[in-house]
């Protein structure tokens, strides 16, 4: 019940982000969700895409450093308190969130939150036991 995310190292230099989106576009890869972490020196672009292997191959061919990580995608109702319920559960069990980002998909009703945990198996088990809807990778890639 995990989702594969690719991450790309980015120097803080004009035009690098555009270069990535151009490469993915030309490879016919669709971006489902993204988040950019940045420091004064460098950035890390994290992406959920329609085709991981194709995206990774195209980016590497253009000289980018690309990594793969397993993350957890959780569906929550798009209403006040939706996110809080999940965070409360995680915090109660001392599950640490490395980082997270969210998007609302076009069916409109629900939001999807991507979590990166240190203890991914423990986190998934806990969420499922609490009746939180954890999405399969294939579902997310096709959203």
């Amino acid at each position: 019940m995990t989702v594969e995310q690719i991450s790309i190292f980015l120097e803080n230099r004009a035009g690098r982000l555009a270069e990535i989106s151009r490469v993915l576009g030309e490879a016919g890869v669709n971006i489902r969700a993204l988040s950019l972490a940045d420091t004064s020196d460098f950035g890390i672009l994290r992406l959920i895409v329609s085709d991981n292997d194709k995206a990774k191959a195209a980016l590497k061919e253009h000289g980018f450093t690309v990594g793969k990580t397993n993350v957890v995608a959780v569906e929550v109702e798009d209403r006040p308190g939706g996110l809080n319920r999940i965070l409360e559960i995680l915090s109660r069990e001392n599950i640490n969130v490395e980082y997270m980002y969210a998007f609302v998909h076009h069916s409109g009703e629900n939001a999807v939150i991507i979590f990166r945990f240190d203890d991914i198996d423990g986190a998934v088990k806990l969420l499922v036991n609490n009746n939180i809807k954890v999405l399969e990778g294939d579902t997310v890639y096709r959203l």
Binding site: S7, F9, L10, T39, D41, R46, G63, T65, G67
Partner: protein, 434 residues
């Protein structure tokens, strides 16, 4: 293999006798023919006939790079121009280039010493030499070319640049010996990989690398990535070009200096005092047989060490250690001596990042700052910011441990640091100290 058995394995006394005789002839010759040397000898109150033993070399004045510039272009030549058959010049990164000349016999001597050099590195007749040292004013290309021909090997005079085509020729011609700068060798391996060519499937057996300082770790990297033995050579255009000293493939430990043609000394870079064997300092050369452009006690600014211990290859020649830096490229950062090659050693030792770096030194509010750009690798990349920052701190700590100076490491994208096909630019000093 020892190419010149007689002269490369001379007993010490015989070698000393040859050196003394040649040194006396040299002193007489330069005093009579080069106004610069007459003046320098007179200033020190020394006459050619004062050279009665080899130790008397220490009475003679040093020659500095600036002296060569002051006598630009031909005033240091000890023979009329009509006897000079070849001119080379060093890259003039600061000011005018230094110009060197060769007589017919100088070219012959040089070719012979390069044949010795290539043989010591394990090259022989029947080898195909892919010579990617630059041809032109630089001594590297033609020096290797003449030496390989003299040895009876086949030379591919490919010179530097057009790396993709070089990979094609390597595949099709099957060269067995690679000659180029060590950084270009690693660049060739990268380009080959990009082109889908496995370097190890090529026929190379040995590479002869020089013209820039490199490290033991870089040797291991080249040997494992390129699938060949890597041998270090030393030379500089002022003294002759490549062919002054070379490692033997048997030991690959220290470079044998061809002492029947050059006398090496190690001096203290500040006081000029001659240091005993085993002590590191600045390398100084006196040329014994050159006709057109002889040099007395030329200060190379290269830092090394000399040692006399016998070598298992059988050569009796003195050995010099790897060049560990330049006495003038040395950076002083917050009072600490920093040699850029030390940074490379740190990166090589880690094995998880590429050995390319760029040092940026600046002075901000009267404090020196040292930034080291290092290329990210898949081995250290992570999707979490704190992991990458940890890598940066970790490299900073390694540098601090090795050099005793704190710095800021910045990760940059792969291949962001320039791969030089000649001498690599590794330092940007933004301080206005001069």
């Amino acid at each position: 293999m020892i190419h010149d058995e007689e002269f490369e394995t001379l007993p010490r006394e015989a070698l000393d006798a040859i050196q003394l005789k040649r040194l006396q002839q040299l002193a007489e010759k330069v005093y009579a023919t080069v106004p610069f040397y007459k003046k320098a000898f007179d200033k020190k109150g020394v006459k050619p006939e004062d050279i009665k033993a080899l130790e008397d070399l220490q009475k003679l004045p040093f020659t500095m790079k600036q002296d060569l510039r002051d006598n630009y272009p031909f005033a240091m030549f000890a023979t009329p121009m009509e006897n000079v058959v070849r001119i080379h010049a060093s890259s003039g990164t600061t000011g005018k280039p230094t110009v060197v000349g060769y007589t017919r016999r100088d070219i012959d001597t040089w070719s012979w010493l390069m044949a010795r050099t290539l043989a010591a590195a394990g090259t022989h007749r029947g080898d195909i030499v892919h010579n990617a040292y630059g041809y032109g004013l630089f001594t590297g290309g033609l020096g290797f070319h003449y030496g390989a021909e003299r040895l009876g090997a086949s030379v591919i005079p490919v010179s530097g640049g057009n790396t993709k085509r070089q990979i094609l020729l390597m595949k099709d011609f099957g060269p067995t010996v690679l000659t180029c700068t060590p950084s270009y060798a690693l660049h060739l391996a990268e380009v080959a990989a990009d082109e889908g060519v496995d370097f190890k499937s090529l026929k190379f057996r040995v590479g002869v690398f020089g013209a820039e300082p490199w490290t033991e770790n870089m040797r291991l990297e080249i040997e494992s990535q390129l699938g060949m033995e890597a041998v270090d050579i030393y030379g500089l255009s002022e003294v002759m070009g490549p062919g002054v000293a070379v490692e033997c493939i048997e030991a690959k430990k220290g470079l044998h200096i061809f002492e029947d043609h050059f006398i090496p000394e190690i001096i203290h870079p500040e006081t000029g005092e001659v240091l005993p064997y085993g002590e590191p300092g600045e390398l100084v050369f006196t040329t014994l047989t050159k006709e057109a452009f002889p040099l007395i006690r030329y200060r190379t600014r290269d830092l090394s060490v000399l040692y006399r211990e016998p070598c298992k290859c059988g050569r009796t020649l003195v050995r010099m250690g790897r060049i560990t830096g330049r006495s003038d490229d040395m950076l002083i950062v917050r009072g600490v001596n920093v040699f850029p090659s030390q940074i490379e050693s740190v990166l090589m030792a880690r094995k998880d990042v590429a050995p390319y770096y760029l040092l940026i030194v600046d002075r901000i509010e009267h404090m020196d700052t040292l930034q080291v750009d290092v290329e990210i690798s898949e081995a250290v990349f992570s999707d979490a910011v704190k992991d990458l920052q940890h890598v940066e701190r970790d490299i900073e700590k390694d540098i601090k441990d090795m050099l005793g100076v704190s710095c800021k490491v910045r990760l940059v994208e792969p291949k962001a640091i320039q791969r030089s096909e000649g001498k690599a630019q590794r330092v940007i000093d933004k301080r206005k100290l001069r």
